[in-house]
């Protein structure tokens, strides 16, 4: 994997630290959920995104609270990056009534609409139509809002990508397609599944910008996303950003992700782990001290531990809730 150098960012210290904190929070959240899964404290399976933190954070830190995102089955990172709180996330993962969705959505369907998080989605490509619609509303309202659709390299081949891309270009919707290219679908290398020149070129031929970036370099992601987001805000229409990254774990918590990916491949990506990579940049630029890093780690660890303890004590929804929220 080519290691693109990211330009020195013009971001303020607080923003950079917040980026770091969110990346760390995602990492620890995913590790904690994995632990919760192994201990049998959550029902179902978890779809974890550790390794992909820079993509989620680099993109979402360019967004306003009233901008929206749609996410995927692997959505925890996007939600935290967009400002989602880990406590109701953890409760949702465990199916508790204190969860973001009162335990009705679950691990794959977390949403916080007040923060513009229109929801993770269990249908591969399922967020693309919704994101286009949010961009439509944004354009109609004229307040410079943008809509971001996260999706994977597998989702590229869903017809709805193509249908909405065509519409988004024609109608100049403020829609940013963000492809997290981690080279795999569930258990298949997506090189075998994508024909021709790949997504960036597909985006360009549809009439929008198609930009590729090192998805493990949060500053590079931020800068690329920022440019596309600002253009969209200002009426420039949609764009596509491909972030090359890697998930460390299995497709879900029930499998280690090692049967269809070589040790070397996994290890080579771990050498370019987005968190130490960013850490080193921050240290080199003296934006943060080793002590501050340590105390941030402690703080995040503690927050996650507490979230688990709280969620474990929280009640399940009452059975009477089962028929609520079917209709408004």
């Amino acid at each position: 994997m080519a290691q693109h150098k990211s330009k020195t960012s013009e971001l303020g210290r607080n923003t950079l630290l917040e980026m770091y904190r969110r990346m760390l929070t995602i990492r620890v959240f995913e590790e904690t959920v994995f632990d919760v899964y192994r201990k049998g404290w959550m029902p179902g399976l978890a779809h974890l995104s550790d390794g992909q933190e820079a993509t989620a954070v680099g993109v979402c830190m360019t967004l306003r609270t009233d901008d929206t995102i749609t996410s995927t089955h692997r959505g925890h990172g996007h939600i935290i990056a967009k400002g989602g709180r880990v406590e109701p996330m953890m409760a949702e993962v465990m199916g508790k009534v204190t969860g973001y969705c009162r335990g009705k959505g679950g691990e794959m369907h977390i949403a916080d609409v007040s923060l513009g998080i229109l929801g993770a989605n269990g249908i591969v490509g399922g967020g693309l139509g919704i994101a286009a619609g949010s961009a439509f509303t944004a354009k109609r309202e004229g307040e410079g809002r943008v809509s971001v659709a996260f999706f994977g390299d597998g989702a590229i081949n869903q017809g709805i990508w193509y249908e909405t891309a065509n519409i988004a270009v024609l109608w100049k919707l403020p829609l940013i397609y963000v492809c997290e290219n981690n080279d795999y679908t569930q258990f298949t290398n997506s090189k075998k599944l994508i024909s021709g020149e790949g997504l960036a070129a597909r985006a360009r031929v549809m009439g929008m910008k198609g930009v590729e970036v090192d998805g493990n370099d949060v500053q590079a992601v931020f800068q690329a996303a920022h440019e596309l987001v600002e253009a969209a805000r200002n009426g420039g229409g949609p764009a596509t950003l491909i972030c090359n990254t890697f998930r460390y774990g299995g497709h879900h918590s029930g499998e280690p992700g090692t049967a269809y990916r070589s040790k070397e491949e996994i290890e080579s990506w771990k050498k370019h782990d987005p968190i130490p990579f960013f850490e080193n940049q921050l240290l080199a630029q003296k934006i943060i001290t080793p002590q501050e890093i340590e105390s941030m780690h402690d703080e995040v660890d503690k927050r996650l531990q507490t979230s688990v303890e709280m969620a474990r004590q929280d009640p399940f929804p009452d059975v009477s809730e089962v028929t609520e929220h079917v209709y408004a």
Binding site: T68, T70, G99, Y100, C101, R102, G103, K104, G105, H109, A111, D112, V113, S114, L118, G119, N121, G122, I123, G126, L128, G129, I130, A131, A132, G133, S134, A135, F136, T137, A138, R140, S147, G159, I160, E163, T164, N166, I167, L170, E324, H325, V326, Y327, A328
Partner: protein, 331 residues
């Protein structure tokens, strides 16, 4: 109340027009709905009146534009996508069923999805197997959706206006044969028709005829002829099948003791099954003959009129079904 006669299509258009004037979150999108005014002329003049930003010609990308509608609804708009032929709704099932219908539930009530999907239905026009189908039963099987099937201009207007104020996804099925052929009184004054309230189109005492959408018309004609034979038929139009006004159906059969269900969807696993099952359960102690189910014949809709008309319920078939009931009773 002053009343005029409108066609079914005019009633639809008037509902759209009034609600668009009232609520600027409403917009229409679909193929040729704009400048052309809709293939069935139901959006005529709206493009001129509300502009290309609210009456939008889409590419032939049903999944894309319905998907977009779901997201627009979730963020505060009220989209009205048009599925030109209801047959094409097969292309957007994921957007309707996996997205629109469950977004509210999955988020624990965080969002509303006010989307009104207008789709046509019905055969009898020699349009062949892919332009004649009536799939409303599918959607009534999906929790989170509401399903509306108006049978008259009056109902069409009142129910569509209700749909356009609904915070939930609505499938609104319009039988295309009625658009320009069925005329009826529509008051000038504003009115709404609530969902889940069946309409007794004709009162009677001997047998209950339940019919939906266009099927109301041959059913009323059959009732007229039955009256001449001395059989008093009650004709009920549920108007919405989700929610379904079970009460009115059951009460009618409690009175008449028997029922015929008439629907243009395919018979098996269709609307006739649910309605028959509901009545058989709710009016168990009152039924004195098996319920007759008259859906469309379970074959792909054939082109040739001799075949096609054989598959669609009509006056004769309804009368024959009532006669079967009457004979069963005499035995």
């Amino acid at each position: 109340m002053s009343t005029r006669e409108l066609t079914f299509a005019q009633a639809i258009r008037e509902a759209l027009d009034e609600e668009m004037a009232r609520d600027d979150r409403i917009f229409i999108l679909g193929e040729d709905v704009g400048a052309w005014g809709g293939v069935f002329r139901t959006t005529e003049t709206l493009f001129e009146k509300y502009g290309c930003e609210r009456v939008i010609d889409t590419p032939l990308s049903e999944e894309g534009f319905v998907g977009l509608s779901v997201g627009a609804a979730m963020t505060g708009m009220h989209p009205v996508p048009e599925i030109m032929f209801g047959d094409f709704i097969t292309l957007v099932m994921d957007q309707i069923v996996n997205q629109a219908a469950k977004m509210r539930y999955m988020t624990g009530g965080q969002v509303q999805v006010p989307i009104t999907i207008r789709a046509t239905m019905g055969g009898g026009r020699s349009s062949g197997a892919q332009h004649s189908q009536s799939w409303h039963a599918w959607f009534a099987h999906v929790p989170g959706l509401k399903v509306v099937l108006p049978s008259t201009p009056y109902d069409a207007k009142g129910l569509l206006k209700t749909a356009l104020r609904e915070p939930n996804p609505v499938l609104f099925f319009e039988d295309k044969v009625m658009y320009h052929k069925i005329k009826g009184p529509v008051p000038e004054e504003e009115y709404l028709i609530p969902f889940g309230k069946a309409d007794i189109k004709r009162e009677g005492t001997d047998v209950t005829l339940v019919a939906l959408s266009r099927m109301i018309h041959p059913t009323l004609a059959a009732a007229e002829r039955l009256a001449a034979e001395g059989i008093s038929a009650e004709v009920i139009d549920p108007r919405t099948i989700s929610p379904l006004d079970e009460e009115t159906l059951i009460q009618s059969v409690a009175k008449t003791g028997s029922a015929v269900i008439v629907d243009e969807g395919f018979n098996r696993f269709g609307t006739t099954a649910e309605l028959a099952a509901v009545i058989a359960h709710g009016a168990f102690d009152y039924l004195d003959a098996p319920i007759e189910r008259l859906g469309a014949m379970d074959v792909p809709v054939p082109f040739s009129p001799v075949l096609e008309f054989a598959t669609i319920p009509d006056e004769e078939k309804i009368i024959a079904a009532v006669h079967r009931i009457m004979e069963g009773r005499r035995r």
